[in-house]
């Protein structure tokens, strides 16, 4: 039986709406792609090109000269960059580890409270609401050798004043303390929301089965929180690796190289010393180091999850 064909005038014609239907994906993704190219890919490509060049200014114009090998050699022989990388890794590892432990502990503690939970949560997140410059100034005053409140307490109990920011052995720890104070609330906030979202019946069931508080925390709550813990740790690791403002305001990388970190060294080379090509090379190296650092952190967290 032959099917009756619709008259030609009634057949759907390939028109604008058909074109839009067939290319809908491109139309919806287009603006995002344009933005990605303009705001992310182009700057990265430009950064890579700069990393392989020496850029000077003559007669008011930029002069680019290919210097990939020279910039690479400078990076490899830059002893301060090596020290800064090591300090950054120590800074990020210690501060993130402490923040995770404190943030998790606080999240479980506050979540278990029956009264005052809201007020405490609000108070605990105050440090992340403060501008970094205010935090730097506040802690600089507190750490002041002659006038700081910390040394007034220390000397008040009969001890010698502590050289918080001026001692090569203490300065890095002092800035880590500020970072922990600043960012633990961020970890707390993420984990607190996750703890509040845990199914209460699972915890109740464990309690009925005779599990103690520590067993519930370590065998029920923490395993259930693992996705949130990984997210919080990842965010913090990325931010800690990029640390700049706290160290710039508190120590400027000193004394000596005690608190020199990669972002600060990059700032000095790129902006203060005006070495644009080498600064870009260092930026590329820092991006690579950050990726490697996060990858290691991810592998370690995965390995710990399997234990």
């Amino acid at each position: 039986m032959a099917l009756a064909q619709a008259p030609a005038s009634e057949a759907p014609r390939p028109g604008l709406s058909d074109f839009i239907d067939r290319h809908l994906g491109w139309f919806t993704l287009g603006p995002a792609i344009v933005l990605l190219v303009l705001l992310t890919i182009y700057p990265i490509v430009n950064l890579v090109l700069m990393a392989g060049s020496t850029i000077n200014f003559q007669q008011g114009h930029e002069i680019w000269k290919f210097s990939l090998w020279s910039n690479l050699a400078t990076l490899l022989h830059d002893g301060i960059f090596g020290v800064a990388l090591r300090n950054t890794a120590i800074y990020a590892a210690i501060s993130v580890a402490v923040e995770m432990v404190l943030g998790l502990g606080l999240a479980i503690l506050v979540s278990s409270m029956r009264r005052g939970k809201g007020i405490l949560r609000t108070l605990l997140i105050v440090p992340i609401l403060l501008p970094p410059v205010a935090i730097g100034s506040m802690w600089k005053l507190m750490y002041s050798f002659d006038f700081g409140v910390l040394n007034q307490i220390v000397t008040g109990v009969g001890l010698q004043p502590v050289n918080w920011l001026g001692s090569t052995s203490l300065a890095l720890m002092s800035v880590i303390i500020v970072d922990v104070w600043h960012w633990t609330p961020f970890v707390f906030l993420i984990l607190f929301a996750a703890v509040e979202g845990l199914p209460s019946e699972v915890i109740e069931a464990a309690r009925i089965d005779g599990a103690g508080t520590w067993s519930i925390v370590f065998k029920i709550i923490i395993p259930l929180l693992k996705p949130a813990i990984v997210v919080a740790a990842l965010f913090r690791m990325i931010l800690a690796f990029k640390v700049f403002d706290e160290i710039f305001l508190l120590t400027s990388g000193g004394p000596g190289n005690a608190t020199e970190v990669v972002s600060l060294h990059l700032y000095q080379v790129f902006f203060e010393q005006n070495q644009l090509g080498y600064g870009a090379m260092m930026s590329v190296a820092i991006i690579a180091a950050t990726v490697v650092f996060i990858w290691i952190g991810h592998r370690v967290s995965s390995a710990m999850g399997r234990l």
């Binding site: 007669q59 004043p161 300065a171 004394p255 005006n274």
Partner: protein, 452 residues
């Protein structure tokens, strides 16, 4: 014909306004004519209030508008760079640039020689050139007025002076030190930490220690490079003279400074003096008004200023000039350039400089320093300034200057906090400088390393 109310008001305004303006215009320190508004990049430094006041006076006297782009010190360089590098017309007509960083702008060809804007422009002979801060020889790539062009002028001749507590000196019968050994001798009496410190001088890594160390380096006869003006960039910072200077600096810091000398910055130093803990100090002249500020200071009228100590009796003090340079971008508008020149001519007159000093600025005319101001209590630092400025030197007048500042600012600090021995710090600093010059294709070399 009937006058409308609006018409009457317009005519009245047209007659009265010039009459009101006339006394102000007539009283102008210099007739610069009607100029387009100009935008000036200026730093929020301790002397800013003085500059702001003198700009207000300029506006009142001339009717010309000046917009001040007030910026904290760390943001100045990038704002100036953006103005000249971004292409198009510069949003700023007059840039205040740190005398060390200005070399980058000279070498990059971003600034207009002042005589090319106005052939009649010249610095009055009384204006301090501050070791040729505002001149550039493009051929030599060096800052010099003898063969270079006038690119700018200093609005502030900042140098460091020696400060001491005159009440404490009187009480303990101490004398103003002539040498660093005299400083040490005084300090033995004064050093009672944490109640008081015998000598406070900056030790913080970076520009702080680099700049303050110049008082020692220059006094001991140390040099950074052999002959930069003539293209010989042989590194000489690891010389015996530099080693003696660094050792003396560290000796003084250990014997006379606070335990946190290695992290002592400008703000900390001023705090120590203001609170009465720092009894002798080395600091820029721009810090002096802070000591006499009754809202902030416990030592109002108690501090006095003197010439910096020398290395040996009869020797010269080491005076590093840390000035600023006012310069005009090549890409400023023609009207903006002319307006900037007009303001500059007015600003450098004796009367404007006098008013500037009265309002808290550091003038740049010798006749203001030797005027009646110097006899007033508020300006008691002026005599020492005038005695010392003749020894002033601009440091690192070549494009690698900022990088060397950073490099040596780290090495000196490492020596101070004990990360490196003084000799090792200078050897490493010399190597850093040599590598930089070599990378830039300079004619360079090094002294033999100091024994570590």
């Amino acid at each position: 014909m009937k006058w409308t109310t609006t018409g009457r008001r317009l005519v009245a305004t047209a007659i009265i306004a010039p009459l009101l303006a006339a006394p102000a215009l007539g009283a102008s320190f210099l007739d610069v004519g009607k100029q387009a508004p100009i935008n000036v990049l200026i730093n929020a430094s301790p002397w800013y209030d003085g500059f702001q006041a003198v700009v207000a006076l300029y506006e009142k006297q001339t009717g010309n508008k000046v917009n001040l782009e007030v910026t904290p010190f760390p943001g100045m360089l990038e704002k100036a760079r953006n103005a000249v590098r971004a292409g198009g017309t510069s949003p700023l007509d007059l840039l205040n640039i740190d005398s060390q960083n200005v070399v980058e702008f000279y070498a990059g060809g971003f600034l207009e020689p002042l005589k090319e804007i106005d052939p009649s422009f010249a610095l009055p002979k009384e204006v301090l050139t501050l070791d040729d801060a505002g001149c550039w020889d493009a051929k030599k790539q060096f800052r010099t007025c003898s063969t270079g062009k006038l690119m700018g002028y200093a609005p502030n001749g900042n140098i460091e002076l020696f400060y001491y507590r005159k009440d404490v000196y009187d009480k303990l019968h101490l004398k103003v030190p002539k040498t660093f050994d005299d400083v040490l001798a005084n300090c033995k009496v004064l050093q009672k930490p944490p109640k008081s410190y015998g000598y406070v001088v900056r030790g913080q890594k970076g520009d702080s220690i680099f700049y303050d160390m110049n008082a020692f380096m220059l006094a001991y006869g140390a040099k950074y490079v052999k002959d930069a003006e003539n293209g010989d960039f042989t590194v000489e910072i690891n010389s015996p003279q530099a080693l003696a200077a660094l050792k003396k600096y560290i000796q003084i810091q250990k014997a006379c400074g606070p335990a946190n000398a290695g992290s002592l910055g400008q703000g900390d130093l001023i705090q120590l003096v203001q609170t009465g803990k720092g009894l002798q100090a080395q600091a820029v002249i721009a810090a002096f008004p802070n000591f006499d500020n009754p809202r902030k200071s416990a030592v109002v009228d108690k501090m006095n200023a003197a010439v910096l100590p020398a290395a040996t009796p009869g020797g010269k003090p080491g005076v590093a000039i840390g000035s600023w340079v006012f310069a005009i971008p090549k890409n400023a508008s023609e009207a903006g350039k002319k307006g900037a020149i007009a303001f500059s001519k007015w600003f450098l007159t004796y009367k404007a400089q006098y008013a500037y000093a009265e309002a808290g600025g550091i003038p740049v005319r010798t006749d203001v320093f030797s005027s009646d101001l110097k006899n007033k209590e508020k300006y008691r630092w002026m005599t020492a300034y005038l005695d010392e400025i003749k020894y002033g030197k601009q440091i690192l007048g070549f494009k690698e200057g900022p990088a060397i500042n950073q490099m040596l600012g780290l090495r000196y600090n490492q020596a101070l906090v004990g990360e490196l021995s003084p000799a090792a710090a200078l050897n490493k600093g010399a190597q850093d400088m040599y590598d930089l010059f070599k990378k830039d294709g300079r004619k360079t070399g090094m002294l033999p390393p100091l024994p570590e």
